[in-house]
Symmetry: C2
Subunit: 194 residues, 2 copies
């Protein structure tokens, strides 16, 4: 009669499908460029039908950020957790980050939206900033475990290099930065033992 805990209602499936597409669209066009009308047209729904799932554009944006965080965790973070903490895990995180850039049409969701929202105060910006801070904090933790003298600096460098590879790849189609990131990470690791 009623839904069990395992059952996924039709509404939940629709909502998940909307957010899947919303993350892709936001990676491509930004969270402002993500319009309810366009999203509805791509999913062959009415605008108001889609709108009813969220109640406001801002709630759609917040749900999209949360869905992107889930996707990033599954595609980038969790696959690297099999590697031992410290240097092996930093290499695994870097590899899964670089690989996920080829998986999704819009490239890195966080690169696109963090730049877009850095000057737009509000809950959407706060959610994006929180996700980025958590990513940096994770890198810092692994850098510390790897024995980095300055884990914050190490984490910043790895963050900047991977995001930079995303930028260069998307703007110029240049894949050489992928190799430069790997080489730079190896150089950073070489400093660890000294």
């Amino acid at each position: 009669m009623s839904a069990t805990a395992e059952q996924v209602t039709k509404g939940e499936r629709t909502r998940a499908a909307i957010l899947e597409r919303a993350v892709d669209l936001a990676s491509l066009e930004g969270l402002e460029g993500l319009t309810i009308g366009r999203l509805a047209a791509e999913l062959r729904m009415s605008k108001s039908g889609l709108f009813a799932h969220f109640g406001s554009k801002q709630e759609l944006q917040l749900a999209t950020v949360a869905a992107a965080a889930d996707r990033f965790r599954v595609a980038v973070v969790e696959p690297a957790m099999g590697a031992g903490e410290g240097a092996p895990r930093l290499r695994a995180l870097t590899e899964s980050y670089l690989e996920h850039l080829d998986l999704y049409a819009g490239g890195c969701f966080w690169a696109a939206t963090s730049i877009e929202y850095d000057d737009r105060p509000g809950p959407v910006r706060d959610a994006i900033a929180g996700a980025l801070d958590a990513w940096l904090a994770g890198l810092t933790r692994e850098a510390a475990a790897a024995g980095a003298l300055d884990p914050d600096r190490f984490a910043f460098e790895l963050y900047a290099l991977t995001m930079g590879a995303n930028s260069r790849f998307r703007l110029s189609g240049d894949r050489r930065p992928f190799e430069y990131v790997r080489a730079a990470l190896a150089s950073l690791e070489a400093e660890l033992g000294d």
Copy 2:
């Protein structure tokens, strides 16, 4: 009677004032968020009066990109040309880049717009990509003069680190990355002599 070469017409002054504001607005809100109506309101002009200077939104965007390139040349590149080529000039370029982030409300115009346009084919994207490629090429030239074993990799790393410092500063107000960039550049230079 007629305008001499030195004379700046009123139309040219108005156009320059529009573009000055347009570069700031685009750094803050992106080149799509830069709307003719808002720009006109801020400059206390009519929409159509402003529009007449450019003829289309795309021409306004292209003129804004060109004005941003001029500003970057004056604020970042030219001040560093007094330093000797190679390592001293790389340090000077890095310093003037980091300083210019405090000078303008929206931070780095190129960080904001290159991410925004990496998925929007057309002349605006081409202009942005051309400016970024020229910046990378300049860094590569100086890295080669400094004796880098792989000038392209050196240039990419410096590009990624400086852009990364812009991102972290704007999203989290964290200025430590400015020091990390300086330290990383020093490490890169230390590799040169080896």
